[in-house]
């Protein structure tokens, strides 16, 4: 075909003129502004260095670490979000998410409040070995467990268990300190009265502010305890709330709490869309999980071959991500609960157990990808990172 026949099309002359003009008029653009790198880094930094400026003992098993930025401004966050911590402990590089317990308009520091988990790698390290002045690596705040003004009710019913109080602390502090038009009813479950984190502060706030109600619930009270006891169940919720229309329920706590509380809420006729649930790490004991094949024992060992890499030995009860990290192989991870998909790996051969309902993209499942933080080997595997 003839080259450039369009030069004969009607109107070509004017367009050629326009092009010539824009050629002369075109200016070099500010690359830094266009790429918005600095702006994006301020909202979602991939790396954020934090220094411990204070350590506050909360209970015998809980401390608050106050974290100030080392060389940047702290990114803004929504009350309820968490930050990942990236650490190296005894030669193992790993990460853990911790909800921010301070409120978002406190822009000078983030508080995280950590409870000791028996035999836990990171929580014990943070409790015992971290002191004021130390630095921690983190990244921008993440997560979808926050109040969303577009569709959540202004009356929030918050159900917390143990260290699951932390995101609610941030929300409640923001509401009272900034005078937000929102109401909170907090039901906070703990084993013993001594385990309650932030008890005095919560008592004080609920005494002072009409829109905050605080109900501690103790699982195994002593004889003299007079408050609410046992588990947080339907009867207790009904007694406290009465009518439950125009309320959104927020749950944060250990797996066992969800297993118990979600059916209770269902029995009260609360619609699914009114219930928000924070993820809280992999199940404690995967072998007890529904669907786990009974012939596989927790301590069974298998081999995992990594494409273009080594072969490692793994234990059935450990999430694949943890086994990989223990061998110095480091897929990226943020939520460590199966939700963010950062840790996805492709299983080329072999089978893994990934709890039903893990939010994996349909086509990822079709092509063999799993979220390694919540996938357990059920035999020898070959994987691609």
């Amino acid at each position: 075909m003839k080259k450039g026949i369009w030069q004969e099309f009607d109107g070509y002359e004017e367009i050629a003129e326009e092009i010539e003009f824009s050629f002369k008029a075109g200016k070099e653009r500010s690359f830094d502004r266009l790429m918005a790198g600095q702006y994006i880094r301020q909202l979602h930094p991939r790396q954020l260095k934090l220094r411990i400026v204070d350590v506050i003992a909360e209970t015998a098993s809980t401390k608050t670490l106050r974290l100030a930025p080392v060389d940047a401004l702290l990114p803004p966050f929504l009350a309820g979000q968490y930050i990942p911590l990236f650490l190296e402990i005894n030669g193992i590089r790993t990460s853990r998410p911790y909800s921010i317990s301070s409120q978002p308009r406190q822009t000078g520091y983030y508080d995280i409040t950590v409870r000791r988990v028996p035999d836990g790698l990171v929580s014990n390290y943070l409790m015992d070995r971290i002191k004021t002045g130390d630095q921690l690596d983190s990244a921008g705040p993440q997560g979808n467990f926050h109040y969303n003004p577009l569709y959540h009710d202004k009356h929030m019913v918050c159900i917390a268990g143990g260290s699951g109080i932390t995101p609610f602390m941030s929300m409640i502090r923001e509401i009272v300190e900034c005078g937000l038009d929102r109401t909170v009813t907090l039901l906070y479950g703990n084993r013993q009265p001594d385990d309650i984190i932030f008890h005095e502060e919560l008592e004080r706030i609920s005494a002072r502010f009409d829109n905050i109600t605080y109900i501690p619930v103790i699982e195994k009270p002593g004889k003299t305890y007079t408050g609410a006891c046992g588990f947080i169940n339907a009867a207790l919720i009904r007694e406290i709330l009465g009518s439950m229309s125009d309320m959104t329920f927020f749950l944060c706590g250990p797996q066992g709490m969800y297993e118990f509380c979600l059916p209770e809420l269902e029995s009260l006729g609360i619609e699914k869309r009114k219930i928000r649930k924070e993820m809280y790490g992999p199940p404690d004991n995967i072998c007890d999980h529904q669907g786990w094949p009974s012939q596989i024992e927790a301590e069974d060992r298998f081999e995992v071959k990594i494409l273009d890499g080594r072969t490692i030995s793994v234990r059935a009860r450990d999430p694949l991500l943890v086994s990989l990290e223990n061998e110095g192989i480091l897929p990226p991870s943020i939520c460590r609960s199966g939700e963010c998909s950062m840790c996805r790996v492709k299983v080329l051969s072999g089978k893994v157990f990934q709890p039903a309902g893990t939010p994996v993209r349909k086509s990822d499942t079709q092509f063999g990808y799993v979220h390694s933080c919540i996938s357990y080997p059920l035999g020898d595997l070959e994987i691609m990172l």
């Binding site: 075909m1 003839k2 450039g4 026949i5 369009w6 004969e8 099309f9 009607d10 109107g11 070509y12 004017e14 367009i15 326009e18 092009i19 824009s22 050629f23 008029a25 075109g26 200016k27 070099e28 653009r29 690359f31 502004r33 266009l34 790429m35 918005a36 702006y39 994006i40 301020q42 909202l43 979602h44 401004l73 990114p75 803004p76 929504l78 822009t107 979808n144 969303n148 003004p149 577009l150 569709y151 619609e271 699914k272 869309r273 273009d308 990226p332 939700e339 998909s341 950062m342 996805r344 309902g357 939010p359 994996v360 993209r361 349909k362 086509s363 990822d364 079709q366 092509f367 691609m384």
Partner: protein, 498 residues
């Protein structure tokens, strides 16, 4: 050399370039900064929903019996067997707050009948306009698709006469009713260029294409497409690194030598395909002294296309409960089709903008979990104004805009508030973050008449071994970007005689 070629970016163009090269026996490394392939062509999970990010209507696929250009491209990559396409049975509907509603099927006669019923006073113009659209398309196909060796004004009068005319001028020739003009040119809501700045050629071809090849969606969303192409690449022996972008392109004597990755590794290869903007490539990745002044001048003469503001909404009911009857809907408040309306893309807030609302579950009831449905609600916005929002106020502005958008949807679908189970919002800053393109552009450079058609930047670069694929080379959209990668691969294969 470590590889025969390195591809930077796993968007549509990068993916198809990688797969096409690897399937011809080239050793290829694909580098992607995000943790997942697709660029725009992706999805993400919230609660029990998997939200589609970009794909509303796939063009150019056609049927197995009457394949369109995209089907041939995907066939050549060996991905069709892993994909299930769903024909979207409606073309689009337009809804206005005053109750006006027109609904079109991808069928010329139905469209004409529906328009005549809604605009009886414009009967004649309607016939004439669609006649022209089809004649124009016929000319384009004859001259360019079948590569007529001797095209002439006599053979292709409509092409010679109309190609460079702006769409509004043609609409003005045929119609008086501003509402009718807005309804027919409503696809500008996809293209991001108002009718008075857009070549008639674009409007004619988009209508013709969607009517003749039908609009499609894909099961599993656009992520399924991205995953399938990546899988074909792996099957052909390709290697990819995710969470690892390209920092620098290395050269020697004006010839590509390799790439420095974000991890600091040096990987050698004589060819690099960039699925990223020339703006970033020439400013940040390569020694600027290698780029001649006129190349930079040409680049700077072009404006950057829009970004987008999107809401992803999961409902706890089926579409019927919300009165959503069509897959593709334009919510239109203003019938202005001039640059004044276009300028609204420069303001942050959402008032009477043209909104696109897709509900995939209408044509594919398995798209969302049983008893639910999802909606992707989007309006095109420029990215730049967003950079003036103080970071501490970003969330507040985002929620404010989303609330206005939701109110707009509520005008047409009053039931929605009682059924929302999940919402997520993406702003131009979200696109900047995940795509890494300047100003969060989703279509590359802008496509005014003077930048489009025959005046596009193309894939070539002044550096030997470096070429581009994706939206920055020409047209945006799935079909063009998917095809652009294959074209880039072909030109490399030609040079290597493979």
């Amino acid at each position: 050399m470590d590889y025969d070629a390195i591809v930077i970016g796993a968007g549509n163009g990068g993916l198809t370039a990688s797969a096409a090269l690897a399937r011809k026996g080239m050793q290829v490394l694909l580098l992607e900064r995000h943790n997942i392939p697709g660029g725009c062509a992706t999805s993400f999970c919230r609660g029990r929903f998997e939200f589609e990010v970009a794909l509303h209507q796939l063009s150019g696929l056609g049927t197995p019996e009457q394949p369109g250009p995209l089907r041939m491209t995907l066939d050549s990559l060996g991905v069709m067997e892993n994909l299930e396409f769903v024909e979207i049975t409606d073309l689009y509907s337009v809804h206005m707050p005053d109750g006006f509603h027109a609904s079109f099927k991808p069928d010329k006669n139905q469209i004409i009948a529906e328009l005549k019923e809604k605009f009886p006073h414009e009967n004649e113009g309607i016939d004439g306009f669609f006649d022209l659209v089809y004649k124009y398309a016929g000319d384009m196909i004859g001259a360019f698709i079948f590569r007529d060796p001797e095209p002439s004004r006599e053979k292709y009068p409509n092409m010679y006469r109309y190609a460079f005319k702006n769409a509004k001028a043609v609409l003005d020739d045929f119609f008086k009713d501003p509402r009718l003009k807005a309804v027919i040119s409503v696809y500008w809501g996809y293209l991001g260029i108002s009718a008075d700045q857009m070549a008639f050629a674009y409007l004619a071809m988009i209508l013709f294409q969607f009517i003749e090849f039908k609009p499609y969606h894909v099961k599993g969303g656009s992520q399924a497409l991205s995953n399938a192409i990546l899988n074909s690449f792996f099957t052909a022996g390709g290697r990819a690194r995710f969470n690892c972008g390209a920092q620098r392109i290395l050269t020697e004597d004006n010839q590509v030598r390799g790439v420095v990755t974000d991890d600091g590794d040096i990987v050698e290869a004589p060819y690099v395909v960039a699925n990223i903007s020339p703006v970033e490539t020439y400013t940040n990745l390569i020694d600027k002294n290698l780029i001649p002044d006129n190349t930079l001048q040409e680049m700077n003469s072009r404006t950057l296309s829009n970004s987008a503001f999107s809401m992803f909404i999961g409902f706890d009911c089926e579409p019927e409960a919300l009165n959503i009857a069509e897959s593709t809907n334009f919510l239109m408040s203003s019938t202005d089709i001039t640059r004044t309306n276009h300028d609204r893309m420069n303001r942050i807030d959402i008032q009477d903008e043209l909104l696109v609302m897709s509900c995939y579950d209408v044509s594919d009831s398995s798209f969302s979990p049983p008893g639910t449905c999802q909606v992707n609600l989007v309006t095109l916005k420029y990215g730049d104004p967003w950079l003036d929002i103080p970071p501490g106020r970003y969330h507040e502005v985002k929620f404010r805009c989303a609330e206005s958008m939701l109110c707009r949807m509520e005008e047409i679908y009053p039931e929605i508030r009682q059924h929302i189970e999940e919402i997520d919002v993406a702003t131009p800053l979200t696109h900047m973050r995940y795509l890494g393109h300047p100003a969060g552009s989703v279509y590359g450079f802008e496509h005014r008449t003077r930048d489009s058609l025959f005046f596009q930047p193309g894939r070539h670069s002044p550096v030997k071994g470096l070429c581009f694929a994706g939206g920055w080379t020409g047209d945006g959209g799935f079909e063009p970007t998917l095809r652009s990668g294959v074209a880039a691969a072909k030109s490399i294969l030609k040079q290597t005689n493979k």
